[in-house]
């Protein structure tokens, strides 16, 4: 069984008690909490560990919380995954994302679970969303393990100051949390982004990956090339196209979206690093609610999905809010779902303007 709960109680202790009441009755092996940065992360971590002492507890701060039926701000959501669904859970922490070998050490701490059968083991990864280390973490995880690690970058309600990840009673900054679940009945991965191809290609020819900057596309200043691609005459007009016209590294027809953040002089800063020489296709936005609904229907065509963890990009949330569609989006989920609005999504790599989900089957 998978249960989810939402609490809007402003007092942290009251919110955790509220969640505990709603989640009572099961024997969860894992409780995952996503909380607004209005709550103190250390208090959430300590209270969660004390409230569910028989369970592993992990989570992170958000840029908005999501539960089936509602998208919120300033709240806490939780998912309790029962032992019948995940009969074994391993948790490890990367305390300092800047430390060399940190991913290797954390993965070793997960033990044999990190190299379990990829059909029945799935990973969760929650990373400090202000660290800028997501690409390195995901690449190294992929080097060392064949498991899918799905997750997101913690948020802080759009303050862009400090985000928090929690595990086993501890709250941490500049850190990441890894969990591996053994789910005998299996799982499905949903990766959905709402864009179509335009046929226009931009190839980064000069980049600064540490700062997620593209200095040149096709040997032209990045700003000039992007403006030409989106058909605008000024930088201001082009900046207005960022959300509807990101670029994608195409894996067949499946884009790994890289979203522009801002012009930095003649360069273009992205929300994730891009690789020089790899063609990026200009994308055009489509309908998030329709596309997500189709992805969910495909994932649950046999009706076996019993719960979903959802890592939804903050840029998608902002678009849904601007179009007054948050309710429509949240109501697409007909099984227990908990998630949050992220500062970046994880599935094989670090991506933007995407929702990555783990759909547990029963």
């Amino acid at each position: 069984m998978i249960k989810t709960a939402l609490s809007k109680a402003p007092d942290t202790a009251e919110a955790i008690a509220d969640l505990a009441r709603q989640l009572a009755g099961g024997s969860p092996s894992l409780v995952v909490l996503f909380f607004s940065s209005r709550h103190d992360g250390a208090a959430i971590a300590a209270l969660a560990s004390a409230t569910w002492p028989q369970s592993r507890t992990i989570g992170c701060s958000t840029a908005g919380e999501i539960i089936a039926g509602e998208m919120t701000d300033g709240a806490v959501v939780a998912m309790a995954i029962d032992q019948a669904v995940a009969d074994e859970v391993a948790v490890a922490v990367i305390d300092d994302l800047a430390k060399e070998g940190c991913v290797d050490t954390a993965l070793a701490a997960l033990g044999a679970m990190a190299n379990g059968d990829p059909e029945t083991h799935v990973g969760i990864v929650l990373i400090d969303g202000m660290s800028g280390k997501e690409e390195a973490v995901m690449e190294r995880l992929g080097d060392l393990s064949d498991l899918r690690f799905i997750g997101g970058s913690a948020g802080d309600d759009l303050a862009f100051q400090a985000t928090t990840v929690i595990a086993e009673g501890r709250a941490m900054h500049h850190a990441a949390v890894l969990a591996v679940l053994h789910v005998p009945a299996g799982f499905r991965i949903v990766k959905t982004q709402s864009f179509c191809r335009t046929g226009k290609t931009l190839t980064p020819t000069r980049v600064d990956p540490e700062n997620r900057l593209v200095i040149e596309f096709d040997h032209q200043p990045a700003s000039v090339a992007y403006m030409a691609a989106v058909g605008t005459e000024t930088i201001e007009q082009a900046a207005g196209k960022f959300m509807s016209n990101p670029v994608g590294l195409m894996n067949g027809d499946d884009p790994y979206v890289r979203s522009p953040q801002a012009f930095d002089g003649q360069a273009l800063k992205f929300y994730c690093a891009v690789t020089p020489g790899m063609d990026l296709e200009l994308l055009e936005s489509t309908d998030i609610v329709t596309d997500t609904g189709k992805a969910l229907a495909d994932a649950n065509a046999d009706g076996r999905v019993i719960g979903i963890l959802n890592f939804n990009c903050i840029l998608r949330t902002l678009e849904l809010k601007a179009k007054d569609l948050t309710g429509d989006y949240a109501r697409l989920f007909t099984v227990p779902m908990a998630g949050f609005s992220t500062y970046g999504e994880a599935d094989i790599g670090h991506i933007n303007q995407t929702a990555t989900m783990i759909a547990f089957v029963g």
Binding site: P118, G142, D146, L249, N251, T275, M278, D279, I348, G349
Partner: protein, 66 residues
């Protein structure tokens, strides 16, 4: 000589996937994200020393002997 890049990619993917089609697919995606577009290389592609070196480096990172 031609086709060495494709042979190295195939060997890397096979070594990692051990017959698991899902792992083979995700390994190819990992290569794409590392800057190796698998579909660009065929049995007749010229041997590109730069790409060959890159694949050797990636294989080492992934713990695969090719």
């Amino acid at each position: 000589m031609a086709g060495q890049v494709l042979r190295m990619i195939d060997k890397l993917v096979e070594a990692r996937a051990k017959g698991n089609a899902t792992v083979a697919s995700t390994t190819r995606t990992k290569l794409l994200l590392k800057g190796i577009k698998v579909t660009n290389w065929t049995a007749t592609s010229p041997d590109d020393p730069e790409m060959i070196a890159k694949i050797r480096e990636v294989a080492k990172e992934m713990g695969v002997a090719i």
